[in-house]
Amino acid sequence: MNLHSRLIASAAGCAFLSFLAQAALAEDAGNLYNTIVDIRMGERYFERQCSRCHGFDAKGNDETGAPDLTGRLTRGGSDAAIFNIIREGIPGTAMLPVAADVPDPQVWQTVAYLDSLRYDPESVSLAGDAEAGRELFWNGSDCADCHMVRGRGSRSGPDLSRIGENRSPDDLLADLVNPNESVAPRWWRLRVTGADGVAREGYRMNEDSFSLRIMDDAENLWSIPKEGLQAYERMENSTMPSYAEILSEGELDNLVAYLFSLRREEI
C-alpha cells in the first residue's frame, strides 16, 4: 500500500470512527445521508459508476462476477462496511475503489441507496398470520407435495428453507398468483429422446453446450449428451399452478407470512 492509499484508508477509517461515535450517541444515527434526496442521488451515482458490473437493477451479473446487491450482502454487514468497500475496493478483485476525490457524502448516499434496496425483515408489517400459514402449508394445501422446508416435503420444487431471505412479501405473493412470471432455468422442464431412443422428461437440473442433466418424475438423475439427441423440447413455464383462485386472499396472506418467516434460525 502506498502512502497515498494509506491516507485514503485512514480517512475512511476516520469516517468509520466518526460514524461509530455518532451511532453511539444516537440510536438512529447510522448513515447521516439517508433522506429521500440522498437515496435518489445515491441511485444516480450507482447507475453511473456501479451498474456496468452490478447491473442497472443492482441484481448482479454472473458474467462479471459482480454480486446481487439487493439481497443479503456477504461482505457488507453494516453501513460502515459497505462504505469501506466502496471507498477502498476489494483488493485482488475487479471491485475497484472509487476515485480519491469523490467526497464521503457521495459514498454515503450510495450506501443509502443500497440500503433502500433491502429492508429490515423485523420492520415489515404483514397482513397474514405466519402460524396459520404454516398450518395451511403443511396440512391445508398441496405445497409440500412439491416443496421442501428443512428436509421435510418433496423435491419437485424449489427448497423453501430460506425463501424469506431473498424474497419480499410482495415477491412471494406474486410468485403464488403468477408463477409463470419468472421461472428460474433450474425449474424449466426438458423432454428429450437420447441416442438410445428412450424418451425422458424431467426438471432441467443443468444444461450446457454439449450435455444436459435432468431429474425425472421418479427422482432419477440423468446426464445425457446432446450429440445424437433424437428429440429435444424445453418448457419454460412453471409446473406450479396459480393459487389466485385456489386460495382465498386471507389464506394467501397467511401463506406469505409463513414463507417470509422461513430464514436461517439465528436471524
Binding site: 444516480r44 453511473r48 459508476q49 456496468r52 458490473c53 454472473d62 476515485a99 450446457d208 453446450s209
Partner: protein, 561 residues
C-alpha cells in the same frame, strides 16, 4: 550451438541484422529441422528463439509452428497451416499441460509462441514466459499498478506483440511497456495516457514494420480515442491519430458543440495490416456518453468505424462508419479480417466484419467501399442496410428514461472476441449472440475520470433463455452456411486450421473442435470454467499443440503419444 545465456547482440540490433539478412534466411521447415537437431544435441533443456524480424511477421503464416502475433498473422485470419491434428484424429487430443495463472481473475489471453517459448499475459497486467512443451515457467514480469484504476469492464489483458527479442504489452494504467523476451526485464515503460482521466489499455499491440501500433480503452469515461505508433527501441511516440477529429479537421462538425472532446471512440482491440496496400486497419468504439446521444447530435465520426491508416504516417486514408450516432454501445471493436476472395467474378481485396450491431459486412479494403451486408443475429434497431452500408433505423429504438427493449443487447451480437476466416472453406466464423435488453437513458455531466455513459441496460430474462452460436458466414453472399448452437452468452474466440478444424470454447467451460466445412462437432472436453479467450495453435519438435485459456488456467492439448 545456441545457448540462452550466451552473449547476444542487443535485441533490436539483432532484429535489424536479421531483417537485412532476410533474403538469406533459412526456409521455415529447414529452420525447424535445424532447431530440432540443435536441441537434440543441446545440453540445456530449454530451447532458445531467434529474433523476430519484420519479414518473419509478414510471413508469419509460413512458420505455423510459431504464433507470432495476437491474431496469428497480419491479416488476422486466425487460420493456421498446421494439420497434424485434423478431422481424422482430433478425437485423440489429450491434455499435455496446464498453467495456473497465479492472480485469480478471468484470462482473456492469446499466448504467443516463438521457437518453443510461450508468452502468456495475465490479469491485471503481467506476462510470463513458459516452455511451450511443458507449461513450466522461465520468468514472470509483474507490472505495478496504482490502486485507483479507471477500468470499465474487468482487469483484462489479451496479449503481447513481439519484435526482435522484445515483447510489448499494454497495461491497465494506460502504459505501454517493453520487456526483454529472454529475461522478463523491463526495457522501457511509456505512459500512453493519464489513467486517472479514464484511459486504460488491455489489447495486444500490433507491430507494423519498425513501429509498435497500439490503441486505447476508456470509452465509458469520456476519453478522446486515438491510435499511436511508438519507437520499439525507445518507447517514444512517433505519431498519434485521433479517432475523433479536432476543430478544423474533417468530421469535427459531426459532433454537437464541444462533445467531440469527450466522445470516446476508443480503440481497445488489435487491428490488422496489409503490407501491399501499406494500410493499418483498426476498429473504433462507441461514442460517449454511450446511451445518451442528445449531447452529441450528429454522426459522431469516427466512432463505431473502421479506419484505414497509412502504414508509415498514420494518416487516415479512408473510413467506414458502421453505426452513425450510436446510442446502444455498438463498438466496432472487432478484429478486421483481411481476405482476398472471388467476388462478383473478380478477385477482391476484402475486409470481413461481423459487427457488434448485428450486421455482417464485406468491404473493399483498398477503398472502404461497401460491397455486401446482412444481419447475422437478432437485430431490432435497424431494418437493414442501404446501398452504401448505412443502417436503416427502426424508429423508437433509442434508449429512454423508462427503458426500451432492443436487440442486440449492450454486449452485442458479437464483441471483441476473435473471429476467423478459413481460406480452404471460404467461410468466416463468428461467435454470435441472439439476446435483448432494456436500454435506459440518463442525464450526466462529464467529470474527468468519472464514468460518462448516460444510462445502462437490464436483462429481463435469465441468460439461458437466449441463444449463442458459432455461425459460419459466406462473405460472398453474406448467407449463414451453418451454425453450431452453444449456451449463451459465449465470449470465446475462434481459430481454424489446415487440418479442417475449427476450435473454440464456451461459456460453460468447454473447449471443442468442429469440422470447419460442415459445423459438425468432432471433439469436446469440459475444462470447467468460462472460456473468455481465443484458441491458438503451435508446434514444438513437430508436435502440434492447441491452446486455450479457460477460467484462470491456460491448457495445451496434443495428440495422444
Amino acid at each position: 550451438m545456441r545457448h540462452p545465456n550466451s552473449k547476444r547482440p542487443a535485441p533490436l540490433l539483432a532484429a535489424l541484422l536479421a531483417g537485412a539478412l532476410a533474403a538469406a534466411q533459412i526456409p521455415a521447415p529447414a529452420q525447424a529441422q535445424a532447431q530440432a537437431q540443435e536441441q537434440a544435441l543441446s545440453t540445456v533443456i530449454t530451447p532458445a528463439f531467434s529474433p523476430i524480424t519484420w519479414d518473419r511477421l509478414v510471413n508469419a503464416g509460413s512458420e505455423p509452428e510459431n504464433w507470432l502475433m495476437y491474431s496469428g498473422t497480419l491479416d488476422s485470419q486466425r487460420h493456421s497451416l498446421l494439420d497434424a491434428v485434423n478431422t481424422e484424429n482430433v478425437t485423440e487430443l489429450e491434455m499435455k499441460w496446464a498453467y495456473q495463472i497465479p492472480v485469480i481473475d478471468r484470462a482473456e489471453t492469446v499466448p504467443l509462441v516463438v521457437d518453443g517459448i510461450m508468452f502468456i499475459t495475465e490479469a491485471p497486467s503481467n506476462v510470463t514466459a513458459v516452455d511451450a512443451r511443458t507449461g513450466r515457467p522461465y520468468w514472470r514480469y509483474d507490472h505495478p499498478l496504482p490502486e485507483d484504476l479507471r477500468i470499465c469492464c474487468g482487469r483484462n489483458n489479451r496479449g503481447v506483440a513481439i519484435l526482435g527479442e522484445t515483447l510489448f504489452m499494454s497495461t491497465l494504467d494506460a502504459h505501454l511497456v517493453a520487456i526483454d523476451a529472454r529475461t522478463g526485464n523491463l526495457l522501457w515503460d511509456t505512459e500512453v495516457a493519464e489513467y486517472s482521466s479514464g484511459y486504460s489499455k488491455t489489447a495486444a499491440p500490433l507491430i507494423v514494420k519498425d513501429k509498435v501500433i497500439t490503441g486505447i480503452a476508456g470509452g465509458e469515461f469520456g476519453i478522446r480515442g486515438f491510435i499511436d505508433a511508438y519507437d520499439p527501441a525507445t518507447g517514444e511516440l512517433i505519431w498519434r491519430t485521433h479517432t475523433i477529429p479536432g476543430p478544423g479537421e474533417f468530421g469535427n462538425d459531426t459532433w454537437l458543440g464541444d462533445s467531440w472532446a469527450t466522445g470516446g471512440s476508443a480503440t481497445w482491440i488489435t487491428g490488422s495490416y496489409d503490407p501491399e496496400l501499406n494500410q493499418i486497419y483498426w476498429g473504433t468504439g462507441n461514442p460517449g456518453p454511450d446511451w445518451n446521444g442528445d449531447v452529441r447530435l450528429g454522426d459522431n465520426l469516427y466512432s463505431d468505424s473502421v479506419l484505414a491508416l497509412n502504414g508509415d504516417t498514420g494518416e487516415i486514408e479512408w473510413h467506414f462508419q458502421f453505426t452513425p450516432h450510436d446510442v446502444h454501445d455498438y463498438d466496432a471493436i472487432q478484429i478486421p479480417i483481411l481476405a482476398d476472395i472471388e467476388f462478383g467474378g473478380e478477385r477482391r481485396n476484402t475486409m470481413l466484419w461481423a459487427n457488434r450491431n448485428g450486421f455482417f459486412y464485406t468491404l473493399d479494403r483498398a477503398t472502404g467501399e461497401f460491397l455486401l451486408g446482412e444481419t447475422y443475429a437478432t437485430v431490432t434497431w435497424a431494418s437493414g442496410l442501404d446501398a452504401n452500408g448505412a443502417p436503416i433505423r427502426v424508429p423508437g429504438m433509442a434508449p429512454t428514461y423508462e427503458g426500451v427493449m432492443v436487440s442486440p443487447p449492450i454486449v452485442g451480437a458479437t464483441n471483441w472476441y476473435s473471429p476467423a476466416f478459413n481460406p480452404d472453406t471460404g467461410l468466416f466464423y463468428v461467435t454470435s449472440f441472439d439476446g435483448e435488453q432494456e436500454f435506459f437513458k440518463r442525464d450526466e455531466d462529464y467529470e474527468e475520470g468519472e464514468r460518462y455513459t448516460g444510462g445502462g441496460g437490464r436483462y429481463t430474462q435469465p441468460m439461458d433463455a437466449f441463444h449463442s452460436a458459432i455461425r459460419a458466414i459466406d462473405p460472398t453472399t453474406v448467407n449463414i452456411a451453418w451454425e453450431f448452437p452453444i449456451m449463451p452468452r459465449s465470449s470465446a474466440g475462434i481459430t481454424t486450421t489446415a487440418g479442417g478444424l475449427l476450435f473454440s470454447g464456451s461459456v460453460d467451460g468447454y473447449f471443442f473442435a468442429l469440422d470447419a466445412a460442415s459445423g459438425e462437432e468432432l471433439w469436446n472436453i469440459s475444462l470447467g470454467a468460462r472460456v473468455h479467450a481465443a484458441p491458438m495453435t503451435y508446434a514444438v519438435d513437430g508436435e502440434q499443440f492447441v491452446t486455450i485459456a479457460s477460467g484462470n488456467v491456460v491448457f495445451s492439448f496434443g495428440l495422444r503419444d
